[in-house]
């Protein structure tokens, strides 16, 4: 008997997608209503997710759907960041007039796809979730129809994503061919590590996954898509798909293929080093803040991958805490970015921040904290994220990875400092609007406080994450 109780959150979110669509069609001028309803339905989903005991360890549908500590934690993370992303961008989409009823619905279906991905314990389920989230994201990227860049972003994302999905499917089929199963647990049982075909399969799937989290050398889409998409969608891009993809990374590498660690470890190390270095160096020349943050997120994913490369529980936990802290920092950064607005125009170039500290001291302080945290300077939260990663990496004596990683933090520090320099040291510009939506203010305050005071009680997060045991 399948216990459907366990997938109540997913069921609920699917129902609310349909419900919201119908409401949207029949009720005129209900945009705000639907938007708020979406936030509420996310809240209810969150409540449903929190409802059952967090340390369950159950599988559904012939072991193809898994509910365990990792999946619950990552779903909670996804839902919370989904709520915050919607809160921060509610005013933005009104001002830029890109709101349509499809917008919140697409966000919801993308989140549904992510939840499926997070829980997947089977290649087919995983692929379904992945495509659901990506399809919604293609549309969202090109949601600003009037804007050429936005359409380009959507198209580019679609073409490249389709390519990577193709590779991924090919990898899945190879693995199926060599292990007679698509289920992670059965694959692990039938594993015959001598076959090269299996290794090829792993490589293809890793390529597909690396594409989703924009790790070098599969990052080409990220800067264009980040820059072209409406900022509200960029926030979404920068945070949520990474959580889901990282979860799949963890599950895929550590459940069926943990015994083949020798074969995939080098790939992950390479992806990690390339992303860290490339992210740090390529961001230096950027002038557009969204583009810059795209490169910075490539670098950050490199660090998260470094944690995964360690091949230990500590490594997984460090990657999970990295992504948790990373998403808070990104949320704070984008909240700041959405506050750079004058007469209903949003600004996104570095020069627009010039001398911000004179007219907007509080906003500048928050940006300062966020940027130093992104650079990984103690005692801010970003330092701890990196610290956990390097703990895990050095535990495995991977000094090369650690040294490269830390050197690229120094390089990366340069471009974060450059933004701070422009905010604090440069002559001021015209004042920006200071009437902001409550949700935007709220998410900025909460995330900044988290970043700033994380060091007082770091055990809180480590305690929760230390219960994640995959191996």
């Amino acid at each position: 008997m399948i216990n459907l109780n366990l997938i109540f959150p997913e069921i609920f979110i699917s129902l609310s997608i349909m419900f919201l669509l119908i409401v949207g069609v029949f009720k005129k001028n209900s945009l705000n209503f639907i938007y708020n309803l979406t936030i509420i339905s996310l809240l209810i989903t969150l409540a449903l997710t929190l409802n059952y005991p967090i340390d369950t360890h159950l599988t559904l549908f012939n072991e193809s759907y898994k509910i365990d500590y990792l999946s619950t934690f990552m779903k909670i993370l996804t839902l919370i960041s989904g709520i915050f992303v919607m809160l921060t961008s509610s005013k933005y989409i009104q001002i830029t007039k890109i709101i349509k009823i499809e917008y919140p619905v697409l966000l919801l279906s993308s989140i549904l796809g992510m939840m499926v991905m997070i829980s997947s314990n089977d290649l087919i389920v995983f692929y379904m979730g992945l495509e659901l989230q990506s399809l919604a994201l293609y549309v969202l990227a090109s949601f600003n129809k009037e804007n050429l860049l936005s359409s380009e972003a959507g198209l580019k994302f679609f073409v490249l994503s389709a390519l990577s999905s193709g590779l991924l499917l090919y990898g899945c089929s190879l693995i199926y061919g060599f292990s007679n199963s698509t289920n992670f647990i059965l694959i692990a049982e039938n594993l015959n590590s001598n076959s090269y075909g299996l290794t090829f399969g792993i490589v293809f799937i890793l390529v597909g996954l690396a594409f989703k989290i924009s790790a070098v050398p599969f990052h080409m889409w990220a800067p264009d898509v980040y820059q072209g998409s409406p900022t509200s969608v960029t926030i979404f891009f920068a945070i949520l798909p990474k959580i889901a993809a990282l979860t799949v990374f963890i599950r895929f590498l550590y459940v069926p293929f943990i015994n083949l660690i020798d074969q995939w470890q080098m790939i992950i190390v390479f992806l990690s080093i390339a992303s860290m270095l490339f992210g740090a160096i390529a961001a230096i020349g950027q002038r557009n803040l969204k583009r810059l943050i795209a490169y910075s997120s490539i670098g950050h994913m490199g660090y998260a991958l470094a944690g995964l490369a360690a091949g230990s529980n500590n490594g997984i936990q460090s990657a999970v805490s990295y992504i948790s802290i990373y998403l808070v920092m990104n949320l704070a950064f984008f909240s700041c970015l959405l506050m750079i607005r004058r007469n209903d125009n949003y600004f996104e170039n570095i020069e627009d921040l010039s001398g911000l500290s004179k007219n907007h001291p509080i906003l500048s302080i928050s940006l300062l904290i966020v940027l130093f945290s992104l650079a990984g300077i103690p005692p801010l939260a970003g330092f701890f994220a990196k610290f956990y990663i390097f703990m895990a990496v050095i535990e495995r004596s991977m000094y090369f990875l650690a040294v490269i990683g830390l050197l690229s933090t120094v390089i990366a520090a340069y471009y974060y400092l450059r933004i701070i320099k422009i905010i604090y040291f440069d002559p001021e510009k015209e004042k920006y609007d200071s009437n902001h939506h409550l949700g935007l203010k709220l998410s900025l305050i909460i995330s900044t406080i988290f970043i700033l005071f994380y060091f007082i009680y770091p055990s809180g997060l480590t305690e929760i994450i230390s219960k994640i045991n995959i191996i």
Partner: protein, 498 residues
């Protein structure tokens, strides 16, 4: 003693900073935040004196230790002081209020922010000197970058951006290697607690690499030749109060960390690398002294002289003799007072004339006699004339060095002559000579707050110059213990190898 006196010392300035940050001040009463900052830092100074009063000089154990779980099952927040660190804490708390008094018209924009940065700096600097856990130490050590970067960058001179970036990136690059070493130590020994590590000891095989990683960080901070180049830039561009903090306290972190961590944790490697340190220190002493001679900018001259003086300090530390290390600590305290005072002196004339070029001055003894007197005291202190604190430190260091190597000591002694040359020449060009620049006549002599600041530095310089006992007394047992520990470690290792 249950009252967490060290944590109070660390936290008090931060509380003051938060208070200033969140208090509303209007333009007319902007001075009020200065009084708050002054009050907080002065209270901190009194608290640190009380700490010294309670301090037991008959034991080498760490005192006032607070040990609290921080990252569960992993790292503890542990602070404590011994004879080596307590003096640096007092130096910090003494310099901070003086810096705050010196802040006036020079800081035109955003006084509140400046005070907040200075108070945060004080917190972090005290934290560096008390922390007894490597990770906690790293946190304080690195955290100092943020406020200092802002102090240089926002309130600095023309080339402030370049200097701030250089300062930040140099220091960060040095420190990340130390972070790797700290984590490696954790996985080797299972702890980052310094006192535990003293007992366990670190495998001799890895000591050299770990020592180098720590060295890369401390050498940049000290700064040692050839990674000293950030210092002149940072000093020249920083506002007076920033230069004072940099010279008086930030530079001492490197020297202090050499004693506490390099000698304490890696005795075998420290012994191995002594020639390297001797070489770098001698180059620093001779070469930067010569560079200082040629400077036309007052702040740059003092900055280079700082590098030379810190060369003495590293030399003294790595003689690993009682006199050498005590001399180094003494020299650091003395240099903290003297260089702070010299930068304040430069600040005094800079505020009046808005130039730091030496040849724009001359003959101001007739206009500013009070200034000429205090400046003389500090000049002599920097040279190390007997009767000033500078003499005791350099003398002890040279005794220690003579014990180890005659040649090194001889070369190092030449540094004292160079110091006399550039300092006295600087003094002559500014204070004496003919008054050729007409605009100098408009300068007014020291005002009351300047007199207060400068004399409150001059008195300790003369006092410990004549009567060094309180300082030597405080450090003696701790240094003695450190050296005993060092030698016994070396002997054990020697026995193992045979």
């Amino acid at each position: 003693m249950n009252f967490p006196i060290l944590s109070s010392l660390i936290l008090l300035p931060t509380i003051g900073a938060l208070f200033i940050f969140f208090s509303k001040t209007n333009k007319t009463k902007y001075q009020s935040s200065k009084y708050v900052a002054l009050f907080v830092s002065f209270a901190n100074f009194l608290l640190s004196l009380y700490l010294w009063f309670l301090f037991d000089t008959t034991t080498y154990e760490f005192q006032f230790v607070e040990n609290q779980e921080w990252i569960r099952g992993f790292i503890n927040y542990k602070v404590g002081v011994d004879g080596i660190s307590i003096l640096f804490i007092i130096l910090t708390t003494l310099i901070a209020p003086l810096c705050i008094i010196s802040v006036n018209a020079t800081i035109k924009k955003n006084l509140k922010g400046f005070l907040v940065a200075i108070l945060l700096m004080e917190t972090l600097m005290i934290g560096v000197f008390c922390s007894l856990d490597l990770v906690v130490f790293y946190l304080f050590f690195e955290g100092g970058l943020i406020p200092m970067f802002l102090i240089i960058g926002i309130w600095g001179g023309e080339k402030r951006v370049y200097s701030a970036f250089k300062f930040f990136l140099y220091t960060l690059l040095g420190s990340v290697l130390m972070l790797i070493a700290i984590i490696s130590i954790y996985w080797m020994t299972g702890t980052t607690d310094v006192t535990e590590l003293y007992e366990i000891g670190i495998n001799a095989k890895y000591q050299n690499l770990l020592w180098l990683a720590f060295f890369s960080s401390f050498a940049v901070k000290t700064p040692m030749w050839p990674v000293h180049t950030w210092l002149p830039d940072a000093h020249v561009e920083a506002p007076t109060a920033g230069s004072v903090l940099l010279a008086a306290i930030l530079l001492k972190m490197g020297g202090y960390a050499f004693i506490r961590f390099s000698l304490g944790l890696f005795p075998i490697a420290s012994d191995y690398f002594v020639p390297l340190i001797y070489f770098l220190s001698l180059v620093a002493i001779v070469y930067t002294s010569l560079v200082a001679l040629m400077q036309e900018d007052m702040k740059k001259l003092i900055a280079y002289s700082s590098v030379a003086h810190m060369g003495f300090v590293t030399l003294g530390i790595f003689t690993i003799t009682q006199q050498g290390i005590e001399g180094s600590i003494f020299q650091m305290i003395s240099h903290g007072l003297v260089s702070a005072a010299l930068f304040l002196c430069v600040g005094v004339v800079y505020e009046r004339m808005h130039t730091r070029l030496i040849n724009r001055y001359g003959g101001i003894v007739t206009i500013m006699p009070k200034y000429a007197i205090v400046f003389m005291i500090f000049t002599l202190g920097a040279i190390g004339l007997p009767g000033t604190s500078g003499f005791v430190g350099e003398f002890l260091i040279l005794i220690g060095t003579f014990k180890k190597s005659f040649l090194v000591a001889t070369i190092a002694s030449s540094g004292i002559i160079f110091a006399a040359a550039y300092m006295l020449w600087l003094y002559r060009r500014i204070i004496f000579g003919e008054l050729i620049h007409e605009d100098l006549k408009k300068m007014i002599d020291l005002n009351q707050s300047e007199i207060f600041i400068l004399w409150s530095l001059a008195i300790p310089i003369l006092f410990i110059g004549f009567y060094p006992e309180p300082i030597i007394n405080t450090v003696e047992i701790s240094v003695n213990n450190l050296i005993e520990m060092f030698n016994s470690n070396l002997q054990i290792n020697l026995a193992k190898n045979n």
